[in-house]
Structures are given as C-alpha cells and as structure tokens.
Amino acid sequence: MIYRLHHTTTYDYAEPVVLGTHFMHLLPRARPGQFIREAMLSVSPQPETRRDETDHFGNITTTISLTAPHRQFSVALSATIEVEQPPPPPPAQTPRWEAIALWGLKDPDVAEFCLPSALAKPNGEIADYTALSFPPGRTILAGLLELNLRIWTDMTYTPGVTNNSTTAAHVFKTRAGVCQDYAHFMLACLRALGLPGRYVSGYLRTSPPAGQIKRRGADQSHAWVSAWLGPEIGWVDFDPTNNLLVSDEHVTLAWGRNFQDVSPLRGIILGGGRHSLRVNVDLDPVLT
C-alpha cells in the first residue's frame, strides 16, 4: 500500500514569542515493511538553524531555533510512504514466550525494551493480569493476540481523562484513556514478564478499508505497541486501541520505550503568553 501523509501542527500565541527552540520527532523512519519514498518537514517561520539527526533508537529528530519574534509556529510534514507488512506465521509456529524473554535480555538491540520504563512500569496487579494470557509454555503470538483483545475489551476509550505523564499503573486502575494509554498499559503487561515491547508513534489511515468500521485514532497522531517474536520473526505490531494486528493500515513515525522517548514536539520558548494548538492529520492511500 502506498500512502500520502500530511501532518500539520500549528501553535498560535497570544503574545509574540521572541525565541523558540524546538526538538521534534516528526520525520518518519524506515523499518522492515515500511519504505519512505519521500518526506519533507517544513517549518514556519523559517528557522535560524535546523539540524536533522538520528537518535539512539534510529528515529529521526529535528532541532530548530527561531530567533525572530513570531505569533504563529507551524510544522508541516508531507510524505509518501510505502507499507508492505507480511503477516506473521501462525501463532502455533511462534516460539514459547519464556524463550523470548530469555533471548531478549541478551540481545543488545532488544534488551532495553524488556525493562520497565517511567510510563510503562509493571506492578504486581499488572503481572497477575498478564499471567492469565501467558500460562507456562504458551506460544508468544497466541498470548499477544489474546492480551491485545483483552486490553481492547477491558478499556474504555475516553479522551480527556489522561495526559502525557499518565502511567500504566494509573491506567490499569481506571481502565480509561486514549491510544497512548492503551499502549503503555500493554507495554507494562509485556515487561511484567520481561517480554520486549516498543512504544510506536505513527498514523492510522483516515478512512478504513471498504466495508470496515471507522478506526479510533485516525485523523490524529496514533500510538501502538511493537512486540518482539524472536530473532527469526522479529518485531510484530499490535494496536490495542482497535484490537488490530498491524498490517498495512499503519504508518510508523518513531519508536522508543514509552511516549517520552518519541514526544513529537517539545519546545522552550520565551514570551508567547497563552497559546492554542491545531493539529491536522491525513493519511490516504495513493491510487495506483
């Protein structure tokens, strides 16, 4: 599938901002199954300096500085991205989950995703919850599909009750939140068993494939979970907000241990007063 992606973020300030420095994760990265044909991030007003770098996780970061007074700041991403995700093997043919936990901790590219992180820290209750889907000897994919379904069933999609620093433990109690909270919840479950899981930020196609229901998190930045199924199969993505095994409806932007590693836009500004924010996302298939 080939997609055309537009993502615009605009800040309007009540007072002029005299200086702004911004650090962004807003350029999509490549991954197995995702090929970036072209991607452009344009910033307005024209920044004084701009540096695009690759971070520890292989994501693309952009650091800019604005030194002319401005009342509006906007960042626009437009990209053409090819997604081709082959389905994973049948659950029965995947390794047992215990083996995954053992291998993961020793693999330098995987180890850090097995460990607790600030927003996705397991606790005893979360471990008990997870254990139901991972009895001894079960294959990893069977457990993951069930966990994905259970989280989707047990959570109530509720915008506005959580924020960027809401922890998995809190979400586990309230069972309410948005895609970010679903993802942190599932990551905390995986890490309770020492299973490797990544927080993925990205986009979901705006209109669902013909005949399917409208997805939650379309028209917006989206977040989901990537789980490791061993060196042979590699990473497979799950979207607990929509109870989906990710195939070709999702476009990956960046990944990390949790939201904090991939925060789309951070900034330190002088002045500005109150501000308002507008975000616009379109992800549409290119008709070929």
Partner: protein, 736 residues
C-alpha cells in the same frame, strides 16, 4: 581484623620511620603538637572562609600531607593512565558502535538499563572531543604494599578544586612543613591544563558549571567547583547564566551573549537538558545535548560518562583490559573490606597524631593527545559505617609527590601560585546575575545603614520630647520619615508617636533583623565576586551584627559599624571593575533616594518653620560636625541646603551621589542614564538656592531616581525573561 595486618605509611614493619617521612616528621616536632593543633584549626577556618555562597565545607581538613615517593608515583601514574585509557575507550564504544554489547563483553541490560546511560548522547559519529577528559581514581595501599583501585570517577570529578587549592592554603598556615623536603609542584600541570582548555576553546568561554546559590543541592560539591574555577582562572557559572541561540550555548553578560566553548561539569549529566528530556527549563540548560552533538560545546566530562562508575558494571571492567588494550591491568582492583586492609597515615587530632586508614585520590586529564596525571591529589581518612552504607571519607589532606630534584623550599602563598587571569574576567563579561546581586547588595547595605541612623536619631527624641511646639513638630517629622522607611506602620505615623510605640513596633516587626538577613543572603549570592579575605572580613562583621540582635535598639550601633566595615572593605579591596561599579551604583542610588525622600518630608514647611527639619536633615546626613565647623552652628536655609543638596565635597549630599552615579554609568557606556544624572545634579544645585516649595521637587527627584534604577535594571540584568516549556497538554489530545 584481616589476615595480614595493614601497613603504615609512615612507620615500617620494624617500627622505624620510613626515610621519606623523616624530614616532615622533624618539621612537625619543631612546630610542636599544641601549635599544630592551632594550625589545624586555622587551616579549617581558612577553608571555611573560602567557601562560596555561604556553604560550609562538610569535611575536616588535615594540615599534614600524605607522601608518595617518586617511585610510588610513577607506578601509580602508569596505572592511572592505563585505567583512564580503558574507561575512555569503553565510553566511546558504549556511546557509539556498542561492540562491547554485541560481543557480550558487557551485559546489554545492565548498560542500557542504567539510568546513567544517556540515550541523547548515543551518536552514530563520535563527538568532536573525548567523552572522558577528566578522571580520578580512589586507591588504597593493601597489606602487601601495593596500591589497589577502590573506585573510579568518570562523571563529575570530586575534589579537583581542593586538589589544586589545598596546598596553597596549607602553605600559608603550616609553612614550616614545606621546608621539610622537595615536592613536585602542581603548577606546571595546572598551567598545561589551563592552556589546553583555552586553546581547545578557540576564543570561546571556558567555565566551571555548578549550581547557584538558589539551588546549591543540585551540585554534589559547589565549594569544590568554586575552588576549581578560582584555581584555573575561569568563570564559575550556573544553568541560569546560560542561553541557547542557534544551536550554541551562550553566557548572558553585561555586554550581551558570549559564546561558551567548554564547560567543566560540576552538575550531574542526568536531566541536564529540559529541551530533550522535559522538565522545568530553569533546572537545566535547554539545548545542551544538541550543542554537544553538533560540536558547538565541549563538556568535561560529557554527560553520561558517569555510566562507568556504575556498581553493576564494576565486575565487568577488569576483563576489558585484555579486550580493549591487549594488556593486563597495572593496578589491581581492591577486594574485601577496604577499611581493614588500607594502610594507615598520620592525621592531626587535637594535640596528638592518630593513624586512621587512608584513601588516596589521584587525578588525570586528557590533553588532546594523551593522559596526564596530576603529581599530587588528596588523601582521606577512611571510616567504617554500618555494612549497608560501606565507607565514609573523613578528614581531607594534601597529597605530596616527593622529588629530590625539585627546589627544596616551596615558598608560602606565593605570588607565582596565583592563577593567570583570563580576558573573560574583564568587566564587560560579568555575568548579569552577578551584577544584579552586587547592585542589590549595595542597596541593601545602604538601606540597613539608613534605617540604623534614622532609628538612633528617633528613639531618644521620642523618649524625652516635651510638649513644646518645636519638639512636637520634630516628632511628627520623625514619625513620617520612619513610616516612609518602612520602620513604622503607616497608621502610627499620623498621631503623636511615643518611644514606647516605636519600640513595640520594632519588637513586633523586627525590620532591622529582616534587612540584615537580606544583606546576608546577598553577601552569599555575590560571594564569588568578593575576594576570600574580603569575604572573611565581611562575614565576620556580619556575624557580629547578627549576634547583637535580637534587641534591635541595642543592635543599632553594630549595624552602623557593619555598614562602615563593608564600605571600607569595598573601597579598599575591590578593583574598580564591573563588579564594584554595580555595588557602588546600588549604594549611591539608595542613598540618594533615601535622602531625597527624607528631605521632601523634613523640608515640607514654610521658610519660618524650616528649622526643625533642617536640623534633623543635617543630623541624618551625618553632617553636623562639618556644618558647625563651617557655619558656627547657626542654622540658615542657604548653607544647610547647599551642604545637603549641592555640595560636591560632602559624601552624603545629593550632588555627590549624582556625580558618582554618573561616573559609574559612563564607565558602563550608559550615556543616556549618565545624562539624566547630570540634569539631576543641576536641579539639586538650583534647589539649594530656594527656601519655599522644596518638598515637591525633592519628591520628584526621588521618583526620577526610581526610574533610573528600573532602567539600569532593564538595561543590565533582565537581558532575558524566564523561558518556559511549551505545554504538551493540548498536544496530548492530538496523540489519541
């Protein structure tokens, strides 16, 4: 007890004094134990006075050095070089290709799961400077006489400032010991370090980054940072002094933003960059990580270098020597109980010598090509705590590397030991924060003096006044002045004020205590710009003033005496650079404003009733004697006003304040403000010829002075408003 008894640094196994200790021991005997105890106290006093921001040093300083022979040092030197090389290579790898994780030399989970592993500094291409440039090792000498490494320091390097300063201060308090034998000077190495830092900075600023007076807890050892900055002749700065522009770091100074090239890091690297890590902008340096990655900023050491100190990794370090350097470690790692196995060394305790176990800390730095080891360092007494916490370091002492070839006499606090000043310490490069603090220090000391003066004049008059019209008038004027100065609640100023009421107000509100506290706070905040001797005298005077409280009335003479000491010290001990100019401006502005306000009250009367106000005015301005001498004590408006307003030779006249202020502002290039002062001076001269309608123009002068004060503040100090983090709350709704 360990199986093999620990050895003694000074005494060999047969009970004889080791040869290289003999000259020192002889010098100790010559000084005598009683005198040595006094010298130890003096050394500790000196160190306390050298502490910045009012931070008291937490440890005890021992006047006796620990000694290393040239042979011992060359062994340690080689071992330290090798270890520094190894840890540096490991850091370069872990923050780069991570082959040590891929080949299983280090467990990935221990490295990647360590909070000191900073992902923001993991880069595909190496930084343009070594991640490890400063290194220190803690060592003990085992029962077999060989040195063993107890701990590595690769993040913030503790004690380097002390290691470079303790000797200079000790040489002043126990000069006799320095005649005992030749020791290697630290100077050549220190100068090399300074040269190297400046050369690498290519004209940019070099500074020690520490926490300021506002957040002293952020820095592990702010006192050491201050000593280090002083020893290297570089600035001591805090996060608030820095601003990011166009990807580079700049220091906010009076002359604008100056690019910063290198920072010696006294703050933990974790949470240093709120831009990339989130958090309050004021708590760190937004953009620091990006500046480091882009090569605009060097940091000694790079953030994240503390990773190599991690206890979890300690067991994996030794095998790396073979893997990375192809050689066995020259220094063994200490095992077992360090307190039981460490050698013992003499420390002064009261009037006797004791021999606790000793820890040696040696320092190395990278000069761009190779590692250099400081021929000195620190010694610490070791003490066992409960098993969970391990060991604590008690007394700190200088470490001497003996060298028969060096000249025998190291002169006391020699001129040659004073670090070279760099161009960056010039007036224009004064950090805005420091200028701000000095300005308010000047104002607050003057305000304290004015309050003391007014109260000393008021109390006897309120006590003994009659009900004669002249006395009543005088008391009413005093009450108004007291209210104006904030020493009396406004509601008491209207009626007939009694001495009892004023005493009651003082006891309740403690205004003098409050003002003295503010002075003490500002002395601490500005301490880095006051020389150690000046700071010592000011703090001594401040202590005396504080001790004379809480009875504010009895304490007034002590306040005046403090203000006089402060003024004298500032006049005699401070060079007339940027710092002094701001102190002076603060003082003169405050004095002029107070005088104008008081005179506006005192001279608010028709000409025939000016006399009580004039008398008080002359007394408040401490000009009674000069007036009497000049005018035989006969009060007449002409001469009185001339003396208080227009006399450029009277240091308490308005005109005098204006002249000094104008000259300060001209020095700082503030021509427009200087011009306003010139006009004010002319107005003061004109006013001195009037006898009616003085109150209004005087009040107007006070108002103009407040405007000038605001203007000075905006021009020099509020270069930048506080930054804030762009809130993510709204953005969150986007991430659904």
């Amino acid at each position: 007890m360990s199986a093999v008894a620990s050895c003694d640094e000074m005494i060999d196994r047969s009970g004889r004094v080791r040869g290289h200790w003999a000259p020192l021991l002889e010098a100790v005997r010559d000084v005598g134990h009683e005198e040595l105890a006094r010298r130890a106290a003096a050394l500790n006093r000196q160190m306390r006075l050298a502490a910045p921001f009012g931070a008291a040093p937490t440890r005890h300083y021992d006047p006796l050095p620990a000694l290393l022979t040239p042979f011992e040092f060359s062994g340690l030197e080689a071992g330290l070089l090798q270890r520094a090389q190894l840890l540096s290579a490991a850091l370069q790898d872990l923050y780069g290709p991570q082959t040590l994780l891929r080949d299983g030399s280090l467990p990935p989970a221990l490295v990647l799961g360590n909070p000191h592993f900073l992902r923001s500094l993991h880069t595909q291409t190496p930084l343009n400077f070594p991640r490890l440039s400063l290194y220190a090792a803690d060592l003990i000498r085992g029962p077999d006489g060989h040195f063993q490494v107890l701990r590595d320091h690769t993040g913030v390097i503790p004690g380097l400032g002390h290691a470079l300063s303790l000797r200079r201060i000790a040489s002043g308090t126990v000069p006799e010991l320095f005649r005992a034998g030749g020791l290697r000077s630290l100077r050549p190495v220190r100068e090399m370090l300074v040269d190297n830092l400046q050369r690498a900075a290519q004209g940019g600023l070099v500074a020690v980054l520490s926490a300021g007076a506002a957040n002293p807890a952020l820095a592990p050892d702010a006192m050491d940072d201050a000593l280090l900055a002083r020893a290297l002749g570089v600035l001591l700065i805090e996060p608030g002094d820095l601003a990011t522009r166009n990807g580079g770091l700049h220091m906010k100074t009076l002359s604008g933003l100056l690019p910063v090239a290198s920072l010696i890091r006294g703050l933990p690297g974790i949470d240093l960059d709120p831009l990339e890590q989130g958090g309050r902008p004021g708590a760190g340096i937004p953009g620091a990580f990006g500046a480091i990655r882009s090569g605009a900023l060097k940091m000694l050491n790079a953030p994240g270098s503390a990773l190599m100190e991690a206890a979890e990794l300690a067991g994996y370090i030794e095998p790396l020597f073979q893997r990375l350097l192809g050689a066995a470690p020259l220094l063994a790692k200490a095992s077992g109980d360090p307190v039981a196995s460490a050698s013992r060394a003499p420390f002064v305790s009261g009037t006797s010598l004791v021999s606790p176990p000793i820890l040696f800390r040696l320092y190395a730095w990278h000069d761009g090509n190779t590692w250099q080891v400081l021929p000195g360092g620190l010694g610490f007494g070791l003490e066992q705590t409960n098993a969970a916490q391990g060991i604590i370091l008690t007394g700190m002492k200088d470490l001497w590397v003996l060298d028969a070839d060096e000249p025998h006499i190291i002169s006391g606090a020699a001129q040659s030991d004073v670090p070279r000043r760099t161009q960056f310490l010039a007036a224009a490069h004064l950090p805005s924060r420091v200028a701000d603090n000095l300005f308010w220090l000047g104002r607050s000391v003057e305000r304290l003096e004015a309050a003391a003066r007014l109260l000393m004049l008021a109390l006897p008059r309120l006590e003994s006044g009659t009900s004669l019209p002249r006395d009543l008038a005088e008391r009413a004027l005093i009450a108004k002045c007291l209210a104006q100065a904030g020493l009396l609640p406004a509601d008491l100023a209207g009626g007939a004020l009694s001495g009892r009421q004023l005493r009651g107000a003082l006891a309740r509100r403690k205004p003098v205590t409050g003002q003295l506290k503010e002075v003490a706070r500002l002395v601490n905040a500005a301490s880095e710009r006051l020389s150690p001797s000046m700071l010592a005298t000011v703090r001594f005077a401040l202590n005396q003033a504080t001790e004379s409280l809480p009875n504010e009335e009895l304490a007034l003479p002590a306040m005046l005496s403090f203000a006089a000491t402060f003024a004298g010290i500032a006049a005699e001990n401070m060079s007339r650079d940027g710092g002094w100019l701001f102190l002076e401006m603060g003082r003169r502005l405050e004095r002029a404003e107070t005088l104008a306000e008081n005179l506006a009250i005192l001279l608010n009367a028709p000409p025939e009733r000016l006399e009580p106000g004039m008398a008080l005015g002359i007394e408040l301005a401490d000009s009674v004697l000069s007036y009497d001498l000049r005018h035989a004590g006969i009060l007449a408006p002409g001469p009185v006003l001339s003396m208080l307003l227009a006399d450029s030779g009277n240091p308490r006249s308005l005109a005098y304040q204006f002249i000094v202020l104008r000259s300060c502002l001209q020095h700082l290039g503030a021509e427009d403000d200087a011009e306003s002062l010139k006009q004010l001076q002319q107005e003061a001269v004109n006013l001195s010829g009037e006898t009616i309608g003085l109150a209004k123009p005087l009040a107007a002068i006070a108002a103009r002075l407040r405007l000038i004060s605001d203007h000075v503040h905006r021009r020099f100090f509020s270069l930048l408003p506080e930054a804030h983090q762009l809130e993510d709350e709204l953005e969150l709704e986007a991430a659904q």
